[in-house]
């Protein structure tokens, strides 16, 4: 007997879980199967570098959905299961353990994994990356007052862990290969503010610091730089970016470009297979280029859009990219994407923070990056986000003037 074809979602992170729920809520009458490689309920990753490391007790992962809700929605959740291959001729996926599942439509929400360092590392070293709850628990167990932590990479993960570790009393050094922190992510003036917060908290920051290798020396790890300096650590955290998990798609012959290549409806080169989240590259209408985003909001929004299109609704993904990071008691929020050809307009809010707006050569607002307290920046970034989506061309002098409300420039 022919097996009933299901909606199958591979990957139970934000994107996959949002998609599974949306498939059911969108009216799919048949089976919805959500397959996750970790043996827990789907959980939120943002707290792993923040609250989960700093809170007094480990309260466990913050689940995206309860077991009861999965049952109510009749979503078959396969936890701790790896998908080995996709057979596009028969519309089946093969699971670790040999089981074959037939799909009507398939969503690949396989995420990304931490990039490796690419230098010699002694296997005895206590070197970790941060992606999963298990990673966070391992880091948490090492953090105690006086312990030495070396963070390799002055990006968001590295800086969030640095902030969490120093708040737990660890002695923290951040090694960044570039000339400043967050080189590709935020403007220099905001990077300076973030750096100042870390220095105030007692984090040591070394720029232009190229790591040459890590060796185990007695109970510690010794991180050596190309310039000959070395830094001992009880724990080495590597946060040097992530690479998309494209192997399953690639082995099935799907188009790969910066990630699993999708159209703006998130369909891959096979119309029965969709992709969403960190692994997905897609053409963005607002920016006229193919991009891949490793951000929380994009993941669940794309999951929902992919699900709608798996059900044949044909909606394009054109949400403005949006990102946040917590650094101590302040927040960074970025809406949109900017490049070197865009004009930077700074709105200085004094001690409370700043917002940097970016105007394309045609005057269109394309990005806004704010740092400060949530109360100071969040409303204006949210309004800027809607302005970016509506291709508004605001006056540059007005953007720079804190006395003029951003809301008044929104139409």
């Amino acid at each position: 007997m022919k097996q009933e074809r299901a909606m199958i979602v591979v990957g139970a992170g934000e994107a996959g879980t949002a998609a599974a729920v949306a498939l059911r809520q969108g009216g799919w009458p048949g089976r919805v199967i959500l397959i996750g490689s970790e043996a827990t309920l789907p959980y939120e990753r943002p707290p792993l570098s923040k609250g989960l490391l700093t809170e007094g007790e480990d309260s466990g992962p913050k689940f995206l959905i309860t077991a009861q809700r999965l049952t109510e929605l009749a979503i078959d959740y396969l936890a701790g299961v790896n998908v080995l291959s996709i057979d596009r001729a028969t519309n089946t996926v093969s699971l670790q353990g040999g089981e074959l599942l037939a799909y009507e439509r398939l969503l690949l929400a396989t995420g990304a994994r931490p990039r490796t360092l690419g230098v010699p590392v002694d296997p005895e070293c206590r070197m970790v990356t941060l992606r999963t709850y298990a990673d966070a628990v391992a880091i948490r167990q090492t953090l105690r007052p006086g312990c030495g932590v070396v963070v390799i990479g002055g990006g968001f993960i590295g800086l969030e862990v640095a902030a969490s570790a120093v708040s737990r009393g660890a002695s923290v050094t951040v090694l960044e290969a570039g000339p400043r922190l967050l080189m590709r992510a935020v403007p220099a003036s905001i990077a300076e503010r973030i750096k100042a917060k870390h220095l105030d908290a007692g984090v040591r920051i070394e720029l232009d610091a190229t790591v040459a290798g890590i060796e185990a020396v007695e109970e510690q790890s010794l991180v050596s730089l190309a310039d000959g300096r070395s830094f001992p650590a009880d724990l080495v955290l590597v946060g040097v970016g992530a690479v998309p998990n494209v192997e399953l798609a690639q082995a099935a012959g799907l188009a790969i470009e910066k990630g699993i290549a999708a159209s703006d409806t998130l369909a891959t080169s096979d119309p029965d297979i969709f992709t969403a989240g960190d692994c997905c590259s897609f053409p963005h209408r607002l920016y006229g280029e193919r991009m891949r985003l490793e951000v929380w909001r994009n993941a669940w929004q794309q999951g929902a859009i992919a699900a709608a299109n798996m059900l044949g609704l044909g909606s394009a993904y054109e949400s403005v990219p949006w990102f946040w990071s917590d650094q101590y008691d302040e927040t960074l929020q970025i809406a949109g994407i900017y490049s070197n050809s865009d004009a930077a307009i700074n709105r200085d809010l004094g001690d409370k923070g700043q917002i940097c707006f970016y105007l394309a050569p045609d005057g269109r607002l394309v990005a806004a990056c704010g740092f400060g307290s949530l109360a100071t920046i969040s409303k204006d970034i949210r309004i800027a986000e809607t302005m970016i989506g509506r291709r508004i061309r605001p006056d540059a002098d007005a953007l720079a003037n804190p006395a003029i409300a951003i809301k008044s420039l929104a139409s």
Binding site: A18, E44, R297, W300, L374, A375, S378, R382
Partner: protein
């Protein structure tokens, strides 16, 4: 000490512009006081039911207030959670305006 169900003064009615929200704390508790575009006042629990983020810092649009951090939304007239990641409803509180002074019943 405040008794349950007591009316507590919040602010004057011109302190909140239409389609804006204000944080109001009383003792250990915190509330979001919202003024609709039409000028009516509403009150709900101050912190989002998803994470401890104050909703008064979020934007007000129609009948909705949106969490400034993760975009969960609530109908501020009822406290009902309307968009993920918010899925637990908030409490709503009665509001009255007397001689241009806003009161909350807590």
């Amino acid at each position: 000490m405040t008794k349950i169900g007591e009316w507590v003064e919040v602010c004057t009615s011109d302190a909140i512009a239409p389609e804006e929200a204000m944080r109001f704390s009383h003792g250990e508790r915190s509330f979001a006081i919202i003024r609709s575009l039409e000028g009516n006042f509403f009150a709900i629990d101050g912190h989002c039911s998803h994470e401890k983020v104050h909703l008064a810092d979020g934007i007000v649009d129609g009948n909705i207030i949106e969490c400034p951090k993760h975009f969960g939304t609530f109908d501020y007239r009822t406290g009902e959670a309307r968009a993920l990641p918010a899925c637990v409803d908030l409490r709503r509180y009665e509001i009255k305006v007397d001689s241009n002074v806003v009161f909350i019943k807590i």
